[in-house]
Amino acid sequence: MSTTNTSKLLTPELLSQLERLELVTRKVFRGRMKGERRSKRKGQSVEFADFRNYVAGDDLRLLDWNLYARLDKLIIKLFLEEEDLHFYTLIDSSLSMDFGSPTKLEYAKQLAAALGFVGLIRTDRVRIETLSQGVGERGPILRGRHSVWRMLEHLNAIQPDTITAEKGPTPLAEGVKNFCLRNAGKGIVVLISDLMDKAGYEQALRYFVSHQVDCFVIHVLSQEELEPDVQGDLKLVDCEDQDEAEITASAPLINRYKQTLNAFVAGAQEFCTKRGMHYILANNQMPVQELVAQHLRRRGLVR
């Protein structure tokens, strides 16, 4: 574990806590390689699944010799195969994520690192991507404990998007669509985003529904968004599209904002719940450790 000790994304305390965890999914997927997950496939493990008659070509090692002795029939004993789990983390790296202290993006990266670490030590197949990646760009596939360093390197390389004249901000829906096109495999998808898209988040999340993945939406909001501390007459400028909103801060305005925010959060939660997705609201002030150990555990992402 010496390779991760120096990383600011994963602290030793967090690592020792994460070592005991594993990723969980309620759905059983078919993996690609031998792993530690129970798979739909029959194969080799200690867990008995079924019997069937021997047909030519079957592995003789699988014959149940005890049954043969009793019944004088060749019966093959089937076991459940244990395979790896596909674990995808999709990070929203839009400019709006570059706010707060720590920034929401930083927070998202920490969270991704923690979950990725959990996956790696359980030999799951971990892939971390961002929303702004094109259809062709793929993130590295990580597997095994030795890949932690690579994962952290990859995470550190993720920077907030730069907005240029020809390339505006990537809409949430487009990013998710690209992701789904890139990764056909089934597994767990964790979307870490602030869901602040003027076009709405609904379209984006619908892609996950059709994609048949076990989807977790971690909605990261900064303290400034939850409890805005604004005073006086202000012109609010949107950092992504330079949209302006003129406000005069007053108690009713702040109250109204909070109401709107609550409605927004409640709406997102309801949308996810209805579609079998998990919605978790995260505040950037809450330590990642606490989020993983308590909230995600309760929601069943880790065990």
Binding site: E224, D233, L234, L253, T260
Partner: protein
């Protein structure tokens, strides 16, 4: 000047002030250049603003709350500058003198709010001070027994108010004259003679000075006084209906028939229109001795006499127990104090080689009641012990019969047949006696010769007693003055030119005059004792508040302790041995003079003034009963009409307005800082 508004600013100032509200508007709209603030997303904010547009009018009002508050504050300030006020006169003039009566009667509580008259007067002076413009100056003088300049001319209102606060009620009597003279001194500066020419010019510019007299008017008119530049206004304080019961006299004396018996005499006056009953309680050193119920006719007096048989010395206190239904407005005069003294105070020394007629005349009962007579031989005069005694004011009077001391004693003296050893007397007197002078006139009005008929007195020979400067000739004869009196320091020396018993050349004694056979002889000696020794001791017992007290004390102590009625003690240095001058007699009650813890003397200070106790305002005589008006003051030959006692001063509104503006400012500040929560 009774208008609702009073302008305080010039047009230019108003124009400048009028520019403030547009400036606020302008600044407010300039301020609306909003500060940009980058946020992650305006997504939620837009939704918020859409919601809020529904009730936008209220929102807009709320947005400009600060603007409205600023405009309100400026409006309040402008209104305050207009000085709205109503119902009142304004002060006219440049200089003001407030004469405030703080005599005993001003402690009466006959006002509506049960406050003392003095406090009411102070309140009205404070209201006048508030009206002073910045170029007006004022001073405050209080007057009771003595006038006191509480605050000299100043235009600093704070100083004036502080001075006003310091004024305390006193127990003294009203003496307006001194205050007027003091005010006159400030208002009418003397003309100063130019040394080179004979021109006179004024030290300062002559200005009219407004003189406000706040008093209850209980003092006689003042004559021989020129007001000069003073323009008096009399503002009476008090009411016609004020009732008061007062002890106007309280003393002890010996019973005429039984001189060994002491009596206390109390006189109670009723200053109201109804007959009143009251109980007089007499206590000696806090022990109740006696009580008597008195029925006092309206505007009359009643008296009670208490026998003090078998009582020792002590402080007597008479207290008036007034029935509850009677509203006694002045509490100061419901108590009186007196000193009970068994021994007679007067000490008289008779120095004579032997004079039976004189000794007989001084041995009468009435003389003994007044003074203790000690007779010594002239030989004693030379002893050191006597010389020391003579210098300590032990004696009230020393009678030198046919003898002369080497030096004058610290006492009143009466020389019989000799001239005092003083150059003044010696210069005037002829050394040789004159023969058979015939008395032709004597000063009948002088207390020493009171009720005496001297025309029939025959005299063989006499020295001529010509008094020095300042003295007075009392008996004149065909040959010259026979009896004269002259002051010496604070004593008096009387000289009777002729001996009563003379000594012939052969040493035998013979009568020089037939006066001892006349009725006037014992009468004269009684007068002598009463004048020199008796009367003084009676006056020592009672004193008026705030007047200086002179007490004779025995012994050589240079420091004495005086305990005041409230228990505070004061160390007083004696200027001369045997004589205590004390002037801190502001409190009513019994003062004790102590030497080394021992009570040496007591004296009582009482109000005893009909004018002070009669606290009703003086009504003008000629008007009808139903329409009482306050009598005017008469100063010099000018009648100062009383202003209406309820004449209100202008009530100004600018203070609450400014306070309101301040409150608005604070609200604005609060909202500005905490507007997020409003």
């Amino acid at each position: 000047m009774d208008s609702l508004f009073r302008n305080t600013l010039s047009p230019v100032s108003w124009i400048l002030l009028g520019m403030i509200p547009p400036a606020i508007f302008a600044l407010y709209f300039l301020k609306l250049k909003r500060q940009p603030l980058e946020v992650p997303s305006t997504y939620l904010w837009h939704r918020v603003l859409e919601d809020l547009h529904v009730n936008s009018l209220w929102q807009r009002l709320r947005k400009s709350l600060l603007l409205l508050l600023q405009l309100l504050m400026v409006a309040l300030a402008m209104l305050a500058l207009l000085r709205p006020g109503w119902q009142g006169q304004s002060l006219e003039g440049q200089q003001f003198i407030f004469l405030l009566d703080n005599s005993a009667s001003m402690s009466a509580t006959d006002t509506q709010s049960e406050a003392k008259r003095l406090d009411v007067a102070k309140g009205r002076i404070a209201a006048l001070i508030d009206q002073l413009e910045s170029d007006m100056s004022a001073m405050i003088i209080t007057f009771a027994e003595q006038p006191d300049v509480v605050q000299e001319f100043t235009n600093n209102k704070r100083l004036l108010r502080e001075a006003l606060e310091r004024i305390e009620p006193s127990a003294g009597q009203t003496a307006l004259r001194g205050a007027l003279e003091l005010a006159d001194g400030f208002a009418n500066p003397d003309r100063v003679m130019n040394e080179e020419g004979d021109q006179s010019f004024e030290v300062t510019e002559q200005q009219d000075v407004e003189l406000y007299i706040f008093s209850d008017g209980r003092f006689p008119s003042i004559e021989d006084f020129s007001l000069g530049n003073l323009r008096p206004q009399f503002l009476p304080i008090g009411s016609f209906a004020a009732q008061n019961l007062a002890i106007t006299a309280f003393n002890t004396r010996r019973n005429e028939e039984r001189p060994e018996l002491q009596q206390a005499f109390v006189q109670v006056a009723n200053f109201s229109e109804q007959e009143q009953k009251a109980i007089v309680e007499l206590t000696l050193d806090k022990r109740l001795l006696d009580a008597a119920e008195l029925t006092i006719p309206p505007n009359g007096i009643a008296s009670a006499t208490f026998n003090l048989a078998g009582e020792n010395e002590g402080a007597l206190r008479a207290q008036l127990d007034i029935p509850a239904e009677f509203k006694d407005c002045l509490a100061l005069d419901n108590e009186a104090y007196a000193i009970l003294n068994q021994r007679s105070d007067g000490q008289v020394l008779l120095v004579t080689p032997g004079n039976t007629t004189l000794q007989a005349a001084l041995a009468t009962e009435r003389v003994n009641r007044l003074a203790k007579i000690e007779t010594v031989n002239p030989d004693v005069l030379k002893t050191a012990e006597f010389l020391a005694k003579a210098q300590t004011e032990l004696y009230d009077l020393i009678i030198y019969d046919q003898c002369v001391p080497r030096m004058m004693p610290q006492a009143n003296t009466l020389f019989v047949g000799r001239m005092p050893p003083l150059p003044d007397w010696q210069q005037q007197a002829r050394a040789e006696p004159v023969d058979a002078p015939q008395i032709i006139d004597w000063v009948r009005g002088h207390p020493l010769l009171n009720l005496l008929e001297l025309g029939n007195v025959q005299i063989a020979d006499s020295l001529l007693a010509r008094p020095p400067l300042g003295g007075r000739m009392l008996i004149d004869s065909t040959q010259g003055p026979l009896f004269a009196i002259a002051p010496r320091d604070r004593y008096e020396d009387a000289v009777l030119g002729f001996e009563i018993v003379g000594t012939e050349a052969d040493g035998s004694r013979t009568f020089n005059t037939d006066w001892p056979r006349k009725h006037s002889f014992p009468g004269f000696w009684l007068n002598v004792i009463e004048y020199f020794a008796g009367g003084q001791s009676a006056s020592l017992v009672h004193n008026r508040p705030d007047r200086m007290m002179e007490i004779r004390v025995d012994g050589q102590a240079s420091n004495l302790e005086v305990e005041m009625p409230d228990g505070t003690r004061q160390l007083v240095a004696l200027e001369q041995p045997g004589r205590l001058s004390y002037h801190e007699t502001g409190q009513l009650g019994v003062y004790q003079v102590r030497e080394a813890g021992q009570v040496k003397k007591r004296f009582a200070v009482n109000l005893f003034g009909r004018e002070e106790s009669d606290i009703r305002l003086r009504a003008r005589q000629e008007t009808e009963k139903s329409l009482k008006t306050v009598d005017s003051l008469s100063i010099g030959y000018i009648d100062v009409a009383a202003q209406s006692p309820t004449a209100a001063v202008r009530r100004e509104l600018w203070k609450p307005l400014l306070a309101g503006a301040l409150v608005v400012l604070m609200i604005e500040w609060y909202i500005y800082n905490r507007r997020v929560y409003i």
